[in-house]
Symmetry: C2
Subunit: 489 residues, 2 copies
């Protein structure tokens, strides 16, 4: 094991040397030589040996959660979060790691239990130890002095041996459903197949050992011109210019199922077993996509290559289409918002006997989507409520704190999301202003007279209409007005 780790470290180091050399534009021969050394080292590692020595486990002190455990977990979290919301809490989130100095000197004797990240030549980082210190750092950084908050945490995969392309088609359907529901503008899903790419490289005359590195050059075609990609292939990666040109003829094509049909007739490509398999599967995929009604969203794009090593079949990537600039909106820019593909070999790399589990999946680019949605909301100057509070329990006179506490407690116990100001004698005007700012729709006002009559004054914040409701009917009336279904969901 130690040997392997050492060898692997060497491989990594060598890799870094190679990259360094490349940047210095060192001669292509030298690179070839270094790459050769690397491949030899890699060969020494040998896949079979590693399979026997590899210990399949999670780190000490950590665990996985199975679907059954997660179902329980979700129910538990649901109870907790519903309660936090009932009490008018907002949500915040902070990174998993913090600057080491943020955590230092806060935990007393517990400090020695904090995990530090390896120095990557930048900042000294530690994994967060609790959520309280990051929360305090957040308040100080944002100069916040008032908040009630809670702290809470994207990939879909289908694993199994199934009839071809049915799960793959569902993954694409899911991608389209999500992107449509999010209403972030028109989009296109580019589709290709690793086997078509490999077949194409083979018939164009790329040597096997260069498939992956040429693949990552091709993948840049959505950002830079073909000329630049060709320069990289020829200048940096040592490809013959005529080989690069042959690749260029293919990878600049895109279209629908008709392009699949056309390539199935291509005299060279159709002679390559791998490419033929890939094209056959894509044809079947397009049939299913038509049945799902999403074929108009899909483009077969021979330049789509995807960076990661583990893909083995169909690959896809969703991009937002540049919308004609709307008034008051920054142009969003074209970019990938979801991606995925088939990876039939990855599970086998972990299995001691190399047993394969075919998998296909997708990942949603939530960070990018958040920025887009946020940008849209800002452009529209739309107000976003950060709590779900239905009613503020208020009082019109002084000395009614006890009565407010009793009423808010009754409402919480009945499942109503309610708040009160944490002040002994708040002014009614301040209580109403708080509702306006927080978007709380209702105010339940307690007064001396109302207490005597056994009623509560229920006020609508927007219409300013007030009506006396019998205390025993208050919960039902709030539920009716806020459209909360009778079941708690």
């Amino acid at each position: 094991m130690a040997e392997r780790a050492a060898l692997e470290e060497l491989v990594k180091l060598q890799g870094e040397r190679v990259r360094g050399l490349k940047q210095q534009k060192a001669s292509a021969e030298l690179i070839e030589e270094e790459v050769g050394k690397l491949l030899k080292l890699k060969a020494q590692l040998g896949p079979d040996e590693s399979k026997q020595k590899f210990v399949l486990k999670t780190p000490k002190g950590t665990r996985d959660y199975s679907p059954r455990q997660m179902a329980v977990r979700e129910k538990v979290f649901d109870v907790i979060i519903r309660c936090f919301k009932r009490h008018g809490a907002e949500v915040i989130d902070t990174p998993v790691f913090e600057l080491k100095e943020t955590l230092m000197g806060k935990y007393g004797e517990d400090s020695k239990l904090i995990y530090d990240l390896k120095d990557q030549g930048g900042e000294l980082l530690s994994l967060r130890y609790d959520l309280t210190v990051p929360f305090a750092r957040y308040l100080a950084m944002n100069k916040l002095t008032n908040i009630k908050r809670y702290h809470i945490a994207k990939d879909f995969d289908i694993a199994g041996n199934f009839d071809p392309m049915i799960p793959d088609a569902e993954c694409l359907k899911i991608m389209c459903e999500i992107l449509s529901s999010l209403q972030i503008g028109d989009f296109l899903v580019k589709v290709n197949d690793r086997r078509i790419l490999d077949g194409m490289f083979a018939i164009c005359g790329v040597s096997d050992s260069k498939f992956r590195t040429i693949c990552s050059s091709v993948d840049k075609l959505d950002k830079v011109s073909w000329e630049e990609v060709k320069n990289e292939m020829v200048g940096e990666k040592g490809l013959a210019p005529e080989v690069a040109d042959r690749i260029g003829d293919y990878v600049q094509q895109h279209g629908g199922v008709s392009l699949v049909e056309q390539l199935l007739q291509d005299p060279k490509l159709s002679q390559n077993k791998q490419a033929l398999e890939g094209l056959g599967d894509l044809k079947l995929l397009f049939e299913y996509l038509t049945l799902f009604g999403i074929d108009d969203k899909i483009s077969f794009d021979l330049s789509l290559a995807r960076g990661l090593d583990y893909y083995t079949g169909v690959i896809y990537e969703a991009v937002l289409l540049q919308t004609p600039a709307q008034a008051g909106e920054e142009p969003l820019g074209v970019g990938s918002v979801a991606a995925g593909g088939r990876y039939d070999g990855l599970v086998g790399m972990f299995d001691p006997k190399g047993r394969k589990v075919p998998c296909v999946g997708l990942s949603i680019g939530v960070e990018r989507i958040f920025s887009i949605v946020e940008q849209r909301l800002e452009a529209l100057e739309e107000k976003v409520r950060t709590t779900e509070t239905q009613v503020l329990v208020a009082s019109a006179q002084k000395k009614l704190l006890e009565e407010r506490l009793k009423l808010v407690s009754e409402l919480w116990d009945a499942g109503i999301k309610a708040e009160l100001l944490y002040k002994k004698n708040p002014k009614l005007l301040n209580q109403l202003q708080y509702c306006e700012e927080a978007g709380i729709p209702l105010v339940a006002i307690i007064g001396e007279q109302e207490l005597k009559d056994g009623v509560i004054k229920l006020r609508s914040v927007t219409s300013r209409e007030e009506v006396n409701v019998r205390r025993e009917d208050l919960v039902e009336e709030i539920k009716r007005r806020t459209g909360q279904p009778l079941c708690i969901c």
Copy 2:
């Protein structure tokens, strides 16, 4: 969510290591030495210096999410998760970090972007880079060959300057609401105040510099006997036996508001300014807790000390009460399931000008609660559904894959949670068995005749009752039968 769980597990394990060392009676001097080193380091940091030099930021490449951003994030996640569920996906979760060797050799040129954890003398760990490699490791480790899944912390705080004890009382109310809703048995919330503890230590004759370390000895009283705690105080921490005995007389007391009143009359304690403040606040707190109807759940316990340095006022900890062992159930054991307190100084430690933001909060021990809920469910042999699929689209004859794909797509688009078997020609029996195993309540069966008549046969899995439904009425009928409200919530 996952991150915190993993971290908590780690902290727990590390805590066990420390306890293990102690239990092995490894020389107390060694521990003292380590603690001494730590305290020196802390002194070097010095609060004033750190305030001037400290850069208040998150690590490079990370960001915080404000309540507004989180509200957007939640809506986005809601759309995504609702879609995944509509397609019958289960949820799994894996730790934030993996063994370094698990991630090695899977990402090609991206490998250099992986964060490694500092070697803590154990395993070599890296932060996960995506969710696909951990997923593949999970499948191989659990020998799973079939799954459709998706991958996706728990603290509540109120910050701000408010009238005394109102937010503190709400935190305790929240704790009680959550523990009652979870139905994990009877519980008790122990309450104390750091100021009472400090005042008590002062009048008992503990020197200021030993307050914190004596505090952590006292905190062990829920696990070990007073004799053992006393031995630690005297033997390891160098307290005079008579001082320890004086502490013992106080910390072995617990009770309700009457104990607060009694201590307010204590000739020594009532002369200490800090203790008097703490007792006054606790008296007020008990008034509010009575209005919230939870005073019977609260116990003023002078032995409650809480480990972390940052608490400044009221502190609390909820414990489950040993229930009389039920048939078929393992005794659950008494233990903390939620805890928190007031920390008025922590934000000021981060603020360049030392501005204070008073805070009070709570944290739910979700890991412990999960184990308890899981154990209960196992004892009851209760089946837990891991998907929410409402209907399986099936066919009675061969060659109906296209029709199944069309129908399931219609149902997805209408918001119905639906699945189909990824097989060209599945047997009806296999389709029905799948429903039984997965707990899917309905089957929509397509047949040649039904297609001609424009109907779908809708079958209830439990009653085996079948009825023909007009295709245009199918969505409404499924919603009606599965009690899905008309709004999508």
